[in-house]
C-alpha cells in the first residue's frame, strides 16, 4: 500500500502551492463578480472551483476534491453555461451591470469582512499553530464507511454515522430533478 508521504519535500513546496492556489481562487472570484459578460464570469468561476479543489487536495481531502471536480466543475458549470446560452444574455451585457444600491452592498460586505478578520484576530490563540502531518491512509475507505456503513465480521451490518443523511440526500436529488423538469416544461 502507499507509504507515509515524504515530509522532506512538503515544507518547501507547500507554501508555494498554497499561495498560488489561494491567489488564483481569490482573483478569479473577483473576476466572477465584476465581469460584464456572463460567460466570462462562468469561466472565472470554473477556475475558482478548480483552485478550491486544489486547496482540498492540500488539506488531505482527496475524495472531496474529486467530488468537487466531478460535480461542481464538470456538472454544475456545464448547466450554468447551457442556461446562459439559452437565456441569451447578449442584450443584458449592454445594460447597466450593478444595481442602484451598490454602495450599500459594498459597505455591508466590507463590514462583514471586518467582522471576520476581527474574529480571526481574537480567536487566533485557539487554533494550533502547526498542522500535524497525517499518514496517507485510505481517506475514501473511511468516508465510505461513514456513509454506507460497514459489514462486521460475524455477519452483522452496522450503519454508518451519516447513512441516514446519505439516503435523504438521494431523495433531495430526486426532488430536484423532478422540480427542474416540471419548472421548465412549457405545458405541465
Amino acid at each position: 500500500m502507499n507509504p507515509t508521504i515524504n515530509m522532506a519535500a512538503a515544507p518547501v513546496a507547500t507554501p508555494v502551492f498554497f499561495y498560488g492556489l489561494a491567489a488564483a481562487a481569490i482573483i478569479s472570484g473577483l473576476l466572477v463578480i465584476t465581469r460584464r459578460n456572463a460567460v466570462h464570469s462562468a469561466l472565472a468561476l470554473i477556475v475558482t472551483l478548480l483552485s478550491v479543489a486544489g486547496l482540498y487536495l492540500m488539506l488531505y481531502a482527496p475524495f472531496v476534491a474529486g467530488v468537487q471536480i466531478i460535480v461542481y466543475a464538470g456538472g454544475i458549470m456545464v448547466l450554468f453555461l447551457f442556461v446562459i446560452m439559452l437565456v441569451n444574455i447578449e442584450r443584458a451585457s449592454k445594460e447597466r451591470q450593478f444595481n442602484r444600491m451598490w454602495p450599500v452592498g459594498l459597505a455591508a460586505s466590507c463590514a462583514l469582512l471586518a467582522l471576520f478578520l476581527g474574529a480571526f484576530a481574537k480567536g487566533k490563540a485557539l487554533l494550533p499553530d502547526r498542522m500535524i502531518p497525517i499518514a496517507e491512509g485510505s481517506n475514501t475507505q473511511e468516508i465510505a464507511t461513514q456513509l454506507y456503513g460497514e459489514v462486521l465480521g460475524n455477519g452483522q451490518y452496522r450503519l454508518g454515522q451519516y447513512t441516514f443523511a446519505f439516503e435523504i440526500a438521494s431523495l433531495l436529488l430526486l426532488v430536484a430533478i423532478l422540480g427542474a423538469v416540471i419548472m421548465t416544461k412549457k405545458k405541465i
Partner: protein, 102 residues
C-alpha cells in the same frame, strides 16, 4: 517562510465568502447572482474541510460532500426557475423581477 496553518485557509475562505456576498448584493444579472451563491457555498466548504483537517476527523469532509450535493440540486432548481421566468418576462435583471402577481 511561516508554515501554513488553519488560519491561512480560513482567511481565504472568508475572502471568497465576502466576494460572493458582494456579488449577491450588487449585481443585477440573475445568473451572476446564482454564481455568487456558489462562491459562498465553496467558501463554507473550504472552511469545513480546513477545520476537519485541524481536528483530524472526517466530519467536516462529509458535511462538505453533502453541501456539494445540495448545491447541485439548488443550482438546477434555481436555473429552472430562471428559465421559466425568462420565458414570461424576457428579462434577467433582479430589479425588474419585482411583481408578486401580474
Amino acid at each position: 517562510m511561516v508554515p501554513i496553518t488553519t488560519l491561512h485557509y480560513l482567511v481565504v475562505a472568508a475572502a471568497l465568502f465576502v466576494l460572493g456576498t458582494i456579488g449577491v448584493l450588487t449585481r443585477r444579472n440573475v445568473v451572476i447572482v446564482l454564481m455568487s451563491i456558489e462562491l459562498i457555498l465553496n467558501a463554507v466548504n473550504l472552511n469545513l474541510v480546513a477545520f476537519s483537517r485541524m481536528w483530524g476527523n472526517l466530519h467536516g469532509q462529509i458535511f462538505a460532500i453533502f453541501i456539494v450535493v445540495d448545491a447541485a440540486a439548488e443550482a438546477a432548481v434555481g436555473l429552472g426557475i430562471l428559465i421559466a421566468f425568462f420565458r414570461n418576462r424576457e428579462t434577467t435583471n433582479v430589479d425588474e423581477i419585482d411583481l408578486l402577481k401580474w
